[in-house]
């Protein structure tokens, strides 16, 4: 299956175009069933990426899927795709979330369905392309390709304030990506100057001895692009507007997958190509990430609209992941990759629930709620579960990720981590308060009293997310071991030792439970099965 990656990208892209062009204007069945079938097929195909995984010394080595074709010879640009432990899970996440988002759109979209579902698939194809690209130029093309469908999805199908929101979203993103284009041109040109040939293969660009010393300004161009996408404080201001105006399934997809691409870009491109610049900037970046964590948590406390509560919560949690990325330790980086999936599932699920709320009540204002637990008990149960997962309840996935991140980050940025860790408290505060105001207390509004509970379709949509939250929370080890070889390879670019198992686990980490995590994640996989039990 050497063409599996291309298939994963172009199946949704071409199907999306087909639905856009050949979809019927009035009949939406073809568009939505067609896109759902394609999305599910793609999801099943993406599981094929796990085939051929094998146990090695550093964890589980996933089979590397690779595809390479010449594209623009004059500049050494290739159509070059490859996966590793970091990208594989995110690709699976992307395909799964696309299917869920499309299924969740069933009742939200009534007209112009072919545009909606076509754009959903295009967005999905673009995101998978970004995750699979191993050539910087391909990466950029997919990076931009996913913006166009997102633009139409928000701008055509969004809420009242959609136009300012979408213009803000596109301009922010374009500023970042055009700046990144300078950076891409610069690194390609440096390769030409230093090595005598043009190439944009990401591997080949690692470790270039730049002529301008540490090359801080090109690093900053990449940082701008990825920071904006990942809502790094203070580049996050587009996010609340876009997330709250987009239709909820689109917000689900944006928050679950697209925001992660910024973090993925940092891990894959910006930091390893410019390791020296990254290390110089690291304290500042960690401080910004921390500022974002705390700031967004406070803002979330003050929100009156459920959509904005989740949007700011999302920024806060993204800040935690960014802190992990900027720490350059094994636990923190592996924790970040793991938490990208965990955060996607929890925040995504919360956005879906907000969408269901909006469908029922016609409002997402917290004041329009109250006492809903009495009328919609099933909904309240799901809500409780996802809310607790977002807060970081042990045994659920977000806990593992955040815990590993704080643990790893503490070694690098002790103060910042200490401050960021307060977000666990604030997170619990705004989440529980939100839950209490919407679900408990007396029923104050007729709308709430007459509300219908979740139906089978909605329950079925949430079930995979529930399974992911509990499954990854209880058995994180297989995934962590599969991530470990990639993070180890990644950290080599910064001169962090390849195999820290002998040094890190016994000496530096105090409590045995923590040590076990480190040990299992970076070291041998066999005792890890037991050691993760220690967390709970």
């Amino acid at each position: 299956m050497s063409f599996l990656l291309s298939l994963l990208i172009f199946l949704p892209l071409l199907a999306g175009l087909a639905i856009l062009f050949f979809g019927d204007e009035d009949e939406q069945g073809f568009a939505r069933w067609g896109s759902l079938v394609v999305a599910i097929a793609n999801g099943l195909l993406s599981i094929g990426l796990l085939a051929g995984a094998e146990r090695v010394a550093g964890g589980i080595q996933l089979a590397s899927f690779e595809e390479k074709r010449p594209w623009i010879d004059a500049l050494g640009i290739q159509y070059f795709l490859r996966t590793d432990g970091m990208s594989t899970f995110l690709i699976i996440l992307a395909t799964a979330c696309t299917a869920i988002a499309i299924a969740a759109s069933w009742r939200i979209v009534s007209e112009k369905a072919r545009i909606y579902y076509g754009c959903m698939l295009l967005l999905s194809g673009g995101m998978i392309g970004v995750l699979a690209a191993a050539d910087l130029f391909c990466f950029y093309v997919f990076w931009e390709v996913m913006l166009i469908p997102a633009f139409f999805l928000i701008g055509v199908f969004g809420g009242e304030q959609r136009r300012p929101a979408v213009i803000k979203f596109v301009i922010y993103t374009m500023v970042g990506s055009l700046l990144m284009l300078i950076g891409i041109t610069y690194v390609g040109w440096q390769h030409f100057v230093l090595r005598g040939s043009w190439t944009f293969a990401i591997d080949a660009l690692y470790g270039l001895p730049f002529r301008d010393g540490i090359a801080m300004w090109p690093f900053l161009t990449f940082l701008a692009a990825f920071g904006i996408k990942a809502a790094l404080f203070p580049l996050h201001t587009w996010l609340p507007a876009a997330y709250s105006q987009a239709p909820m399934p689109v917000t689900f997809l944006l928050s679950a997958v697209m925001a992660k691409l910024g973090i993925y870009g940092l891990l894959r491109v910006a930091l390893p190509i410019f390791p020296e610049a990254a290390q110089v900037a690291m304290p500042v970046l960690a401080a910004l990430a921390t500022a974002g964590v705390v700031y967004a948590a406070f803002v979330a406390l003050a929100q009156e609209d459920a959509r904005l509560v989740v949007a700011y919560a999302s920024i806060s949690h993204l800040g935690v992941i960014l802190l992990g990325v900027f720490s350059l330790t094994h636990q923190a980086v592996a924790g970040s990759v793991f938490h990208m999936v965990g955060h996607a599932v929890t925040t995504g699920a919360l956005f879906l629930l907000v969408g269901f709320m909006a469908e029922r009540r016609g409002s997402t204002l917290i004041a329009d709620w109250g006492g809903a637990a009495k009328t919609v008990p099933v909904f309240a149960t799901f809500f409780m579960l996802f809310m607790l997962a977002a807060v970081g309840l042990p045994g659920l996935t977000a806990f593992i990720g955040e815990f590993m991140i704080f643990l790893g980050a503490f070694k690098q940025h002790a103060t910042a981590t200490a401050i960021a860790a307060t977000s666990i408290i604030f997170g619990a505060a705004y989440m529980l308060w939100w839950y209490q105001r919407t679900m408990f207390g007396p029923v104050q509004h007729d709308g709430v009293a007459r509300m219908a509970d979740l139906n089978m379709r909605e329950g079925a949509l949430l079930m995979p997310l529930v399974l992911a939250i509990i499954g990854l929370g209880v058995f994180p080890q297989p995934m962590l071991s599969a991530i470990a070889p990639s993070t180890a390879a990644y950290l080599k670019h910064f001169g962090v030792a390849a195999d820290p198992a002998p040094t890190v686990s016994p000496t530096k980490v105090g409590p045995p439970a923590h040590g076990a995590v480190t040990h299992g994640e970076a070291g041998d996989a066999a005792p890890a099965e037991h050691s993760t039990q220690g967390i709970h």
Binding site: G155, Y186, W189
Partner: protein, 510 residues
């Protein structure tokens, strides 16, 4: 006779123009002349491609006044494509405006004749002839709607300023002739290696005057003032023709003259410094003024000025062969994009071009899905969004500028691209995301076939030129893919005899 074989496309084009002229006197229906011209131009294009494929090096003809090389053929083909498209676009337009007369198409063919001369002259005098042949024909086309006030204003402005530019050009030629003793570009280029000429202030002044005249034709700051009024007042198919063919011809001239006059020694430094500053100012003026435009055609005029600025970045990076190839690719990309966009504008404008404001486009994408999609693709290409042609055009320019150590210019160009996102995006937002206002005439529910064809093919070309820039090898018989082919053409242009020129030899090796 066979020695003149490379001139056959030129002869054929002249014949097409003359026959179209005769036909318009004899045939009632102007549209027939239009279809004849389109067919004739297709023939010229096919002939040019055939000759290009079997091209055996530069042919220097007519006492070295004309050189026909890969560079010329590249532009012959581009002009023929633009000529055919703008002819086809004009047929339904002139019908609607009740200004359908055969002379229009004859003039268009004559303008193309002038452009053919411009891109293959190696002598300042023949260059001037070509430039004036083109300009005179375009003046008349701009004023085609005789009874429309705006059109009259446009043509007056264009004519007076154009004449001034022509005078400056001639004056520059006179100064160059006075100091160098020849008007032949190849001879001048070889003479430039003597310090006597390179440092001669009269020669420098003459060269700068030629540069200024070129700056007028490409609408570079500070010679850009005419562009918005003329673009707005001209019939939209003429606007499209000017924004694509005239601009491409002027840039081809800039490349040819620039390589001859500005590639050596002190003159290179002066030329680069001038173009460097003009590029920055042109980009900013174009983009900043485009931000505040309400009229679509004026917005596109300022956008055209901005794109001139991006192209000047490429001119500043000359004499690198990559820079030349990037400029050529950009011109192709920009031509397709603008033809598509202006075909949409021409259709939406309605009778007498009453609907031209961007806000009138509210919601029209849902009423005319094809027009909406075509316009959206073209706007994304103008922004420079992958995978459209506009993105690759910009990217090749940036790479070339980076290689020429012009990183600051690249940064300025990117800042300008960011500025431009807003006003292009506004068009798409208005078309797709604002409820309809009903300004577009309901009678226009049917898109004429030719317009439809132009929009469809231009959009496909924009996307194809993005994805397939380098790996669709079959588009020309025997010719390499577009960017490679542009590069080869550029090399053939630069491999003319230029003794002791290190620059030529180093770039020749690439």
């Amino acid at each position: 006779m066979l020695a003149y074989a490379p001139l056959f496309p030129f002869f054929l084009l002249t014949a097409v123009a003359l026959i179209a002229m005769l036909m318009s006197a004899l045939v009632e229906d102007g549209a027939k002349v239009g279809w004849f011209t389109a067919a004739g131009l297709t023939g010229v294009g096919v002939l040019a491609v055939n000759q290009w494929a079997s091209n055996d090096g530069p042919h220097r003809l007519l006492s070295d006044a004309v050189t026909i090389d890969g560079f010329s053929y590249f532009f012959y083909l581009l002009f023929c494509i633009i000529g055919v498209v703008s002819t086809v676009m004009a047929i339904p337009y002139l019908d609607r405006e009740q200004a359908q007369r055969g002379e229009y198409y004859a003039l268009l063919a004559f303008a193309l004749t002038g452009m053919f001369v411009m891109v293959s002259s190696d002598d300042l005098m023949t260059l001037f002839l070509g430039l004036e042949t083109m300009s005179l024909a375009v003046y008349v086309m701009v004023g085609w709607r005789r009874h429309v006030l705006r059109s009259n204003e446009a043509v007056l402005k264009y004519f007076f300023l154009g004449s001034l530019a022509a005078a400056i050009f001639l004056y520059g030629i006179a100064l160059i002739y006075g100091s160098a003793g020849t008007t032949n570009l190849v001879d001048i280029a070889s003479l430039l290696h003597t310090p006597a000429l390179n440092m001669n202030p009269v020669f420098v002044l003459g060269s700068l005057m030629v540069l200024a005249a070129v700056g007028f034709k490409v609408a570079a700051f500070p010679f850009h003032m005419w562009a918005p009024d003329v673009y707005e007042g001209a019939p939209t198919p003429v606007t499209a023709f000017m924004a694509t063919a005239v601009k491409a011809a002027a840039f081809a001239l800039a490349v040819r003259v620039g390589l001859a006059l500005f590639s050596v020694g002190q003159l290179h430094e002066i030329g680069q410094a001038v173009v460097w500053h003009l590029a920055i100012l042109t980009m900013f003026v174009g983009n900043v003024f485009a931000l505040v435009q309400k009229n679509m055609k004026r917005m596109l005029a300022y956008s055209s000025i901005a794109h001139t600025g991006y192209l000047l970045v490429g001119i500043a990076a000359l004499p690198d062969a990559d820079a030349g190839a990037a400029i050529m690719f950009y011109l192709v990309a920009y031509a397709f994009t603008n033809l598509g966009a202006l075909a949409c504008v021409a259709f939406l404008a309605g009778r007498e071009e009453r609907v031209e404001n961007i806000e009138d486009y509210a919601g029209i994408a849902w009423r005319y899905p094809l027009v909406g999609l075509g316009m959206a693709i073209c706007m994304f290409s103008l922004i420079g969004f992958p995978p459209t042609a506009g993105f690759f055009g910009k990217y090749y320019l940036f790479i070339a500028a980076m290689k020429a150590n012009l990183a600051p210019l690249v940064v300025v160009a990117v800042i300008n691209s960011i500025l431009s996102v807003y006003y292009y995006l506004r068009v798409i937002v208005t078309m797709y995301m604002v409820p309809p206002s009903g300004a577009v005439d309901p009678a226009e529910s049917h898109i004429p076939g030719p317009t439809r064809a132009v929009i469809v093919y231009a959009s496909i070309a924009v996307v194809w030129a993005g994805i397939g820039t380098a790996n669709i090898t079959a588009f020309l018989p025997g010719a390499a893919p577009l960017i490679t082919s542009a590069k080869d053409s550029m090399k053939s242009l630069m491999s003319k005899p230029k003794p002791e020129s290190e620059r030529t030899t180093t770039t020749g090796e690439r």
